[in-house]
């Protein structure tokens, strides 16, 4: 099988922009995504069978919508939907320049060879563990939003949103407009921390459309009487096998108020969103170097000025290289495609540089804005520390509490790295493969050993990076004899 020129993992803004640029220069491009359509999470489309009038027509989505239309209409791009990339397989010794991806889709497992691979796999909600967060009814806020945005379904009756990311406001508005009741939107940080953006008036002016969008959302929430509170968060979820209420504490200088004054709010669904974690497991499994960033999503993939990772022929763009939003992702995708064209000899250096210059200029301003947003969106560690009580489940897949994990650290002084902690405690060995607990395991270990997160390191990512029914693998083996 002849390898394709470029395989792109992820059909979000970065993947779509890269695909358009690459096919425009004659490359054969395959885009792989777990969803059924392009758009990524930012433009998670309703399924083709559900038609929605005026879907996401707000001005702030306009450029992303244009990108989506262009990508969908371009017949040169090959799409591979409902397909998970399970990992990179060893390279074929007869063709060492090609990479081999292991895919799992509705038809089972298969392989795809590609000369270059771009990972633009996006991110998922940073879900901070707290007492009761394993109760059904507690969800990632992004998950609630996807139900409303894509499935056109309000997933409950009465909602509370708690965390620290401005996305909460947008989701509260969408739930309310869809006919759900939003009891409260809680931000752990004080309002003053959010208003830190005032110190950068020129930068904010350049990104006025985003601020106006948030302003409009705030206005609608206010008119609907939905309380938006700062310096307050959910400290426990309560209910018998299903969420019935949340316990809310006010914070003063990052410290929770005493137990007895904590308020209870009845709700059937809670959304949690304290920023986002990057999906870097595929590049890590391929051996790409990563760096730690607490506020940009944990273990982010190292890239050079052309979005090249440390592995030859492997590129990364969008959130995978540090959470910075859809606009940054789109530009990075474009830049990565130019790099592929340069490295495959389609463009010469001078031409590639010339084409990259305006992209880099746009990126500089967008990244600056993203950095400010990231800074105001993540609360200090002491807020998380108070949520991570001994009885709190740290790893939901394997059912390990913060207390059990702490005891193991006391017992075994040899545990210093995330991998050694995994072997002793089983955190990160379950279904999510550490995608959720990994961030906290890393930060807890760094604090415990008084070492840097870089010394703790990530969990090793192994193929398959996501669970796959073994019957599907066997079926493929049988087929091949």
């Amino acid at each position: 099988m002849r390898p394709v020129d470029l395989a792109i993992v992820g059909a979000g803004p970065a993947g779509m922009a890269a695909a358009l640029t690459a096919v425009a220069h004659g490359l054969r491009v395959v885009v792989i995504d777990e969803q059924q359509q392009a758009g990524g999470q930012i433009l998670r489309q309703p399924p083709a069978a559900i038609r929605v009038r005026n879907w996401l027509r707000d001005r702030v989505y306009r450029r992303q919508q244009q990108l989506l239309q262009r990508a969908q209409q371009d017949s040169r791009i090959e799409w591979c939907w409902q397909t998970t990339v399970l990992g990179f397989l060893d390279r074929d010794p007869h063709d060492p320049t090609s990479q081999r991806l292991w895919l799992h889709g509705p038809e089972g497992t298969r392989e795809l060879a590609a000369r270059s691979v771009l990972v633009a796999a996006g991110c998922h909600d940073l879900a901070v563990p707290f007492p009761g967060w394993n109760l059904p009814g507690v969800m990632a806020t992004g998950g609630l939003q996807a139900m409303v945005k894509s499935q056109q379904l309000v997933p409950g009756k009465r909602f509370v949103l708690a965390g620290s990311h401005p996305l909460q406001l947008i989701v509260a508005d969408q739930i309310h407009r869809g006919g759900g009741e939003v009891a409260a939107v809680l931000f752990a940080q004080p309002l003053g921390a959010m208003l830190g953006v005032r110190k950068r008036p020129l930068l904010m002016l350049r990104h006025l459309s985003k601020l106006l969008h948030i302003g409009g959302v705030m206005w609608r929430l206010w008119r609907a009487g939905i309380p938006v509170r700062f310096g307050s968060t959910v400290v426990a979820a309560e209910g018998e096998r299903q969420l019935a209420a949340v316990r809310v504490a006010r914070l003063r200088d990052g410290v929770f108020e005493p137990q007895q004054t904590r308020e209870e709010i009845a709700c059937d669904h809670l959304g949690v969103c304290y920023s986002f974690l990057v999906a870097s497991e595929l590049p890590r499994q391929a051996g790409a170097a990563v760096s730690w960033s607490a506020e940009r999503g944990g273990w982010i993939v190292d890239v050079d000025g052309w979005q090249r990772s440390s592995v030859a022929g492997l590129y990364a763009a969008g959130e995978t290289t540090g959470v910075a939003g859809a606009d940054v992702a789109r530009e990075e995708g474009e830049l990565a495609a130019l790099a592929v064209l340069l490295d495959q000899g389609v463009l010469d250096a001078a031409r590639a540089e010339k084409m990259a210059a305006p992209v880099r200029r746009r990126l500089a301003s967008l990244r600056e804005f993203a950095a400010v947003l990231a800074q105001i969106s993540l609360p200090p560690w002491r807020v998380f520390e108070q949520l991570l009580t001994d009885s709190t489940t740290l790893c939901k897949c394997q059912g390990i509490s913060v207390g059990q994990f702490g005891d193991l650290l006391q017992e075994h002084s040899s545990i210093a790295t995330a991998n050694s902690a995994k072997l002793r405690s089983r955190t990160g060995m379950g279904l999510c493969q550490g995608r959720y607990c990994g961030y906290f395991v890393t930060r807890l270990l760094a604090r415990h050993g008084d070492i840097s997160e870089a010394e703790v390191g990530p969990f090793s990512a192994r193929s398959p990076v996501k669970p796959v029914p073994i019957a599907d693998i066997l079926a493929r083996e049988r087929e091949q004899g």
């Binding site: 309703p46 069978a49 559900i50 929605v52 139900m147 959720y436």
Partner: protein, 104 residues
């Protein structure tokens, strides 16, 4: 309880699936996760300790919404699948509450 947004939304004629032996009407394009929410059955798989797990990320990364699904017409035995990533199809059978360590 969950509800469908009706204003400005056009859905195709409904189809039937079965959740824990009970017939449920859903629309093409809806996911098993949406069907579970609408049917008021949010528990997905059960841990070894007997704790229910449920929808969390709704984007295919947490694997907490695993349920046992058999697709009509495919002769295979039921498979663990992510409710949030699996679109409904006519005659699909969904089992919730099963322990992940049980064989299907």
């Amino acid at each position: 309880m969950a509800h469908r947004i009706e204003a400005g939304v056009e859905r195709q004629p409904s189809l039937q699936i079965e959740i824990d032996g009970v017939a449920v009407s859903v629309h093409p394009g809806e996911t098993v996760a949406a069907a579970l929410l609408l049917a008021g059955r949010e528990h997905c798989y059960t841990t070894r300790e007997g704790e229910p797990r449920s929808l969390f990320c709704n984007m295919g990364s947490c694997f907490e919404c695993l349920v046992a699904i058999s697709v009509a017409g495919e002769e295979r035995e039921p498979r663990w699948r992510r409710a949030c990533m699996t679109p409904v199809s006519e005659g699909m059978r969904v089992r919730t509450g099963k322990c992940l360590q049980e064989t299907l």
